[in-house]
Symmetry: D2
Subunit: 335 residues, 4 copies
């Protein structure tokens, strides 16, 4: 059975996912697209072989040509579309964040719990990166003992002027929030943000780099350096420090070059080069799951928890104080 | 258009490729299988959703449910099936070697040339490995200057008793023959084989490891250490030495673990772990090409040249002398 | 001119330095030793060829067979001996800390300033490690832009029961305090300590690992993970993050071994293996300097500043709060 | 007891060793120098504090101000001076080669055997390099099983016009000849030289790079790529392939730098940067040995064997054939 996916939001990421769902992923086609910018939707529809263009996300969700929905529109629109999918009983993959506010996320949790089974997954693709999976496997094997500290580095070459100091939390560190929760198997219960010296290479309004310390339920620290304008490339690292040893992500390297006095490997230029394969794996897992009648991927609870942490994280950016994070009770379907 | 592939030979590699063509590759299904062992063919057919099982390869090739053929039967049967595909005008991917003897390969070249366009590709998957491609790109970019020497290492954990000293050439170094030709863009014109001290870990009849020096048209050396029973894993390396620098393959590493006094990365256990993704990329390129009406992959000429080199290489194993290699004229369709 | 060194304190480090001053360093001999444990002093004196054993440090300092003094006794005795050396006008190298309390350090600064020229150096050997020097050179070359963050890791295999949570600051992180000041060329003006989850491998009284964030005058963060019982070896790292790139210390590696599925390098077992050569380089620089009539090595001011930071750091361990650090004015001879 | 060393030949290497014997090595001074270029000898003498300049090597050897002799004059003069040292009963360290011809080496062996105890060491400094020692230790520990193949790479940035194709053997690969013998504990019994494509960066008369395959008594292969004009730096590697695993030299790295899309480490620029510490260790071991009345370092037999191999190696360069190497019986004092 081929899963016919409808895409809401045909920006860069929607287009990229659409291309994969049509040409790379086994078991899916793209049957419909929509975008607030109709011309853009039609342009992307054309590259997908002329699929149908809907006037609105709600129309697309309602269409019986659409078996499953991919939400890649801007964050503030996510909740409406995800809730409509749940109402329609249709599987939905929502790019992160599940929703930018906690109340919206809680509404989604309530709706999905009322529906009675999982329909929603959230696009935290790093969980599908082989390096992160090996780090997790290393912990689970017992090879490094008990987890004590997780050190994360997240560096990006440059960002535009629209990028703000709060987005370091809501757009960027939200990835480390998710990977920390997932690797450690615990909720984050506190966060403190400590600003380093600013780079002269950022727009003046931006605190860049940024440094945060997250604490989990059992007291594990997860430190995160985020640097939006590091200039040199896209560099994501983590080292999980255990009581017997450590396990570290390595930048994927398949060759090296020696010339003019140096032995060098290449740093990925951007997230697409670094995590493109993880996005593909995530989409494939979702589609393969749907073919088997299962909902495979980070749940709405994972989406809620990440949004909750970064919401408090934004306060932590403002205050510089250690802020405590508390959660609603986890609905039974997510346990 | 979905390409319906028929598979001749459902051993390990045929089964693996079949699974990918059915479930991983975008644009293909498996429509038919056959094997000298009928029970085995039916077993594999069942895992592919109950596809049709043919009595013979020739029946399968003739079927109008088969758009393209994958030949993964044993080497001595390759030529017959490939020639039948050409006669039927059907695209065929033949696992290496194209054929185990030079006359068979020449027959295929003649048949394909007579047919007038390329139908045949040969399964030299390493050309699709990202590491090898980066090494090639590094040469083509000019970063390392002119190619002068290529050092290759090809190590395998263990082999069974059936593996012979000649197979180091025909089954194993044939990969380095192909990658050398492809990386350097030149034919191999001489080969010498120098036996190192034998490992105590091999069966007594086997010269293991083995060391060969190939020379190309312009005089570039390609050295190859092949070690069938290195015990520790599957380890394929190459360093291309140029007049300005060098470019080297690295074992793909995405994490490292520190414990008990060492900082360690994992060596792939076998060829499947190391080149599984390259096989997938090769199959996808073939299928995507077929959808566009093109024949994408190493040509029958590449298959012929590799078989020619290893045929002389077997003599070189016997004599210990430097043997010269001469080729027929390259038919126009391969230029 | 051979420098005749007298050693006060013949514990492990005093013995080790003594052996080097006698047999490895060019330009020095050991002429005298003393220790609170007379038997131990005589034992070490015997290994040095029967050098003279003094009853007390003050006697040794006064001896005209002693050109320069090495203080390797326990911390609380340092100030008395260093002050006596200054009073005697004799060069002295004092192992870290200069003195365990800030008032003692200030007394030394005052005495040396009154004497009018530098006589005292403090044993911060990491400044002589080639890796640290390359990191510093990389910053100074402009290759990585402006310093913004320094990430430090300092892991030790195991510590005995006598090791306390405050010693993480006074005995261990004091090294990172010194290297941070030296690499960045700025004083540390604030410190916060955040306790991670405790390892089950430490004695219950010990907070281990420990995490600290130091801030410098211009706002650069220096993060330090110290882990006293990491089990796996002695592992010291730093990455200096600049506005254009980063420079990182690498564990010195001169070979690697592949066996049984892994490619491994060795982690140093202890500080002696890791920094033995740095200690030698430090001693040689001191002796070579003395031969030229110069005082070469970290000054008493460096010793004072490090003690000041860790004194506040101990408060930071107690309070968990960000503590501010203020210094006396720097005497002219240290500028 | 301080060893007073007289130096015959104050070229670059003689000056460098002299500086170390005077200022770095513990237990030695330089008491005398001589050189065919008297002005040069006086210049170097001045930098060593005005030591005595002799008119000839034989005068220097005869002087009772000279306890031990360092021969760093040009190769063809080595035998005369070494024989004179033996006649005078004085310890001598001779830079490689012991002598450029086999008969001269045999004369030295005979003289030293007649003298009845070892006086001569030859400057094969790589044996003192920590990386090579770890590779040897790895073999001796059993970790990699039985030695089967040794792969060597020896690359140099550039050489002058005076450098000839035979010198690739007599001046450069002679180092790999010595390390192969030493690592494997066996004599080399055959050699074949296979010329790769020439670099456009060398003078036209020079075969560069060069590739040789040495075979030992038990059949172990030692392959050597030597590249005199690799342009990019000085790069010496070896991988010892055993029946259970491999052990490899790593270029000593103590830091890495990330900038502009690459993660890079530095390749040593020349032999001095790469093996300076090994030269120091070799000199120190020699001097410390002499203080204890022992002769510590590669013996005259090692010098003879290396000269013997490269003498046949030069024939192998000429003929391209596999040449057999046979030795005189080893005198008892070298067993």
């Amino acid at each position: 059975m081929t899963i016919r996916v409808g895409i809401i939001g045909t920006g860069l990421i929607g287009e990229d996912h659409g291309r994969k769902l049509a040409n790379v992923i086994n078991g899916s086609t793209v049957s419909a697209v929509t975008d607030v910018n109709r011309a853009r939707a039609e342009e992307v529809a054309a590259t997908l072989g002329g699929v149908r263009v809907f006037d609105s996300g709600l129309d697309l969700i309602a269409s019986d040509e659409v078996d499953a929905v991919l939400v890649t529109s801007i964050g503030p629109t996510h909740a409406e579309y995800v809730l409509a999918c749940i109402a329609a009983g249709k599987p939905v993959m929502c790019e992160k964040p599940l929703a930018p506010t906690v109340p919206e996320c809680e509404q989604i949790l309530a709706a999905e719990a009322a529906f009675g089974k999982r329909l929603v997954i959230v696009g935290y693709m790093r969980r599908y990166d082989p390096g992160y999976r090996q780090v997790k496997a290393s912990l689970e094997s017992g090879a490094i003992g008990d987890a004590l500290i997780l050190h994360n580095v997240h560096r990006n070459a440059t960002v535009g002027e629209a990028y703000t100091s709060f987005m370091t939390m809501t757009d960027s560190m939200i990835h480390e929030v998710d990977t920390s929760r997932w690797l450690l198997g615990e909720e984050i219960t506190a966060v403190q943000v400590i600003p380093p010296k600013r780079t002269p290479k950022a727009f003046p309004h931006l605190q860049d780099p940024q440094f945060a310390v997250f604490t989990t339920e059992s007291g594990i620290l997860s430190t995160v350096e985020f640097f939006a304008n590091c200039q040199y490339g896209y560099d994501v690292r983590c080292e999980l420090v255990g009581s017997l040893g450590t396990s570290s992500l390595a930048n994927p390297v398949v060759s090296s070059t020696i010339a003019a006095g140096t032995d060098a490997t290449t740093i990925p230029p951007d997230w697409r080069a670094r995590f493109g394969a993880a996005y593909t794996a995530e989409l494939q897992a979702w589609i393969t799951g749907l073919q088997a009648g299962e909902c495979v991927g980070p749940s709405a609870w994972e989406g809620y928890a990440a949004t909750k942490v970064v919401e408090v994280g934004v306060e932590a950016v403002k205050t510089g104080e250690r802020m405590i994070i508390e959660y609603i009770e986890k609905p039974a379907i997510y346990r």
